[in-house]
């Protein structure tokens, strides 16, 4: 093993090729992951950020906010279900906003949320006619202090603060009080109108120690099946496009890992050819195939670790350089780690291809000139 380590240090040029290509593959893996996470975040971050355990929709809504209605009576019922600690209403309206200073066709897509229980990193609901805006809307001029006109009815809403990383269906979000939201939706989307006290869904916090899934079942029983309660995570996965995007990208990532296995196998096979003579001598001196192969695996792991670090560096650089909102791209630490891990496993598997050749090297070849 020590010999393998010394070879890495003293003959780094031998390993440059494999490292470079693996670094490219590492970058690709992390890039793919970052694009997937970006797309997902754009679709779902507003829902994922809800500080609650459950979301309650009406049972015919198929988990869609727009088609769901929860009446005040149903809300009271839900609040009284054992295990429920707190209930807050929530609803969304997807509209186009006119921003002062922008052209008449240059509208900003916004998803206006009316809420009671504040999600992560969002202050409590603001006053009437006011809203917090997601930072991704700043590109369109929607920022603190500006009054925008929302929807065909041009409902005025004044921006009083900024929030970050909260999107819904690729649209930047506005966060307003329930009343503001109701007024806006009734004025602009009459066929989606809501009566007083009505919400599209409820955010539910369960008592500490209670099992959210059982509470969800209890809620649906309590409302005689009129509601469909699910965990926030399940609600996120039900947002249109999410499961398709995930499946698509995961397939691509999977094939990329397989490619990494083959590429490592290829370049380490080439390396092994170069070292036939050396391995012959070492075997003559008493090295077992196991020792030599362990050295190969060690080198594979080190090379992959370096390649992963380089790949991560490039992926991070891209994260900094890409302006927010242009391409959906979010580099999560978990993604960097799993990508590096996949690559490492791929490298170990790739090294196995060299095992046969290492096994076949005859120690007797060391005698007789080492040709």
């Amino acid at each position: 093993m020590r010999i393998a380590w010394l070879e890495l240090r003293r003959r780094p040029s031998r390993f440059v090729t494999a490292t470079a290509i693996l670094a490219l593959l590492a970058t690709l893996l992390m890039l793919l992951g970052g694009l997937l996470d970006g797309l997902l975040s754009g679709s779902t971050s507003a829902v994922a950020a809800q500080r609650g355990d459950l979301l309650v929709f009406s049972s015919t809504a198929e988990k869609s906010f727009v088609r769901s209605r929860i009446t005040p009576t149903q809300r009271t019922t839900v609040a009284q279900v054992p295990g429920v600690a707190e209930v807050g209403g929530i609803g969304v309206a997807q509209l186009a906003a006119r921003v002062p200073g922008n052209g008449p066709r240059d509208l900003a897509d916004v998803a206006l949320f009316g809420y009671e229980l504040a999600p992560k990193a969002v202050p409590p609901p603001p006053g009437p006619g006011e809203a917090y805006a997601d930072s991704s809307l700043e590109r369109k001029g929607v920022r603190d202090g500006v009054t925008i006109e929302v929807g065909p009815a041009r409902t005025p809403i004044r921006i009083v603060g900024t929030v970050r990383d909260l999107s819904y269906s690729d649209q930047g979000t506005l966060w307003a009080s329930a009343d503001t939201w109701r007024t806006t939706i009734n004025a602009n989307l009459p066929e989606a109108g809501v009566g007083p006290g009505v919400f599209q869904a409820l955010v539910v916090r369960v008592d500490p120690g209670a099992d959210p899934t059982s509470v969800a079942a209890r809620i649906d029983r309590g409302t005689a099946g009129a509601t469909e309660s699910l965990t926030v995570r399940a609600a996120v996965n039900a947002i249109p496009g999410v499961s398709q995007q995930r499946a698509t990208f995961n397939q691509i990532i999977g094939v990329t890992v397989v490619i990494a296995v083959v590429v490592v196998a290829l370049f380490f096979a080439l390396l092994t050819v170069e070292r036939t003579v050396l391995y012959g001598v070492l075997k003559a001196l008493g090295a077992t195939s196991g020792t030599l192969f362990g050295g190969v695996v060690l080198q594979g792991v080190v090379v992959t670790a370096i390649a992963s670090a380089v790949g991560a560096g490039i992926a991070l650089l891209l994260d900094v350089v890409i302006p927010p909102g242009s391409i959906p791209y979010t580099l999560l630490p978990g993604r960097v780690l799993t990508s590096a891990l996949f690559l490492l496993v791929a490298a170990v598997f790739g090294c196995v291809f060299s095992l046969r050749r290492v096994l076949r090297i005859d120690p007797a070849s060391a005698i007789g000139g080492g040709q």
Binding site: A284, L285, G286, T291, P363, I367
Partner: protein, 235 residues
């Protein structure tokens, strides 16, 4: 005679006993007999020259003696150990502990220093750490390479490389050291220097050696010469 060897480590039986050793290769339908009923005995402190032209089988004999090849027939006993039926794995351990090799050309690992080259065998096997490092330094000193121990093989002269290889062969205090054409890459003067070194190192430690060569000039450095032609030994 059962006296102990000079370093007291091994019983003083013969270092090498080969009886009726045959090595046959199958090439397609034909059989090639590389060694034909070879019987050879090398004493505990003897230096034997194995002289023969290329293709005579001397390399094959050397390989079998060193546990690099298994014979088709016959028995091989090295330092009292019968290695005839050893598996590849046991042979590897045997080579780590009991034999030393000095190859003709590729001896040293090109990216390791002289000192590290000597430590290779220890790292592959017993891992005695400190003990091995001390022994390596001592050997390098005796071989006149003390000031070259942190040099890579590319930074050493031909003679210095040969000396480092001898040092490595002696690291595990072997019963038997096998030299494969030790002077073929050197000029006459250097070749004689190396043979003198081999002789003095082997005799001072009481280690047996077999020197495989085609060069008649060096046989006077050995105790006994054995000729081999077409796989058959002649005294």
């Amino acid at each position: 005679m059962t006296t102990a060897s000079k370093d007291g480590r091994w019983p003083a039986g013969p270092a090498l006993e080969m009886e009726g050793v045959r090595k046959v290769y199958e090439m397609g339908d034909e059989e090639v007999v590389a060694l034909d009923h070879v019987t050879l005995r090398v004493g505990a402190e003897e230096i034997v020259a194995l002289l023969g032209p290329s293709g005579s089988g001397k390399t094959t004999l050397c390989s079998i003696a060193g546990g690099l090849l298994t014979p088709t027939a016959g028995s091989v006993v090295v330092g009292g150990q019968d290695i005839t039926g050893y598996s590849a794995k046991r042979l590897a351990t045997f080579r780590q502990e009991t034999v030393g090799f000095v190859f003709q050309s590729v001896n040293l690992v090109p990216f390791l220093t002289a000192r590290e080259n000597l430590l290779v065998v220890d790292q592959l096997g017993r891992r005695t750490g400190r003990m091995a490092r001390d022994r390596a330094d001592q050997l390098l000193d005796e071989l006149g390479l003390a000031d070259r121990r942190d040099n890579l093989p590319s930074q050493l002269s031909g003679g210095q490389r040969q000396r480092a290889a001898i040092g490595r062969a002696l690291m595990n205090e072997p019963q038997l050291v096998l030299f494969d054409e030790p002077t073929s890459a050197l000029d006459t003067e250097l070749g004689e220097q190396v043979m003198e070194l081999i002789r003095s190192e082997m005799t001072s430690r009481g280690t047996a050696a077999v020197v495989v060569t085609h060069d008649e000039r060096i046989v006077h450095y050995t105790d006994r010469t054995v000729h081999i032609v077409d796989g058959v030994l002649h005294a």
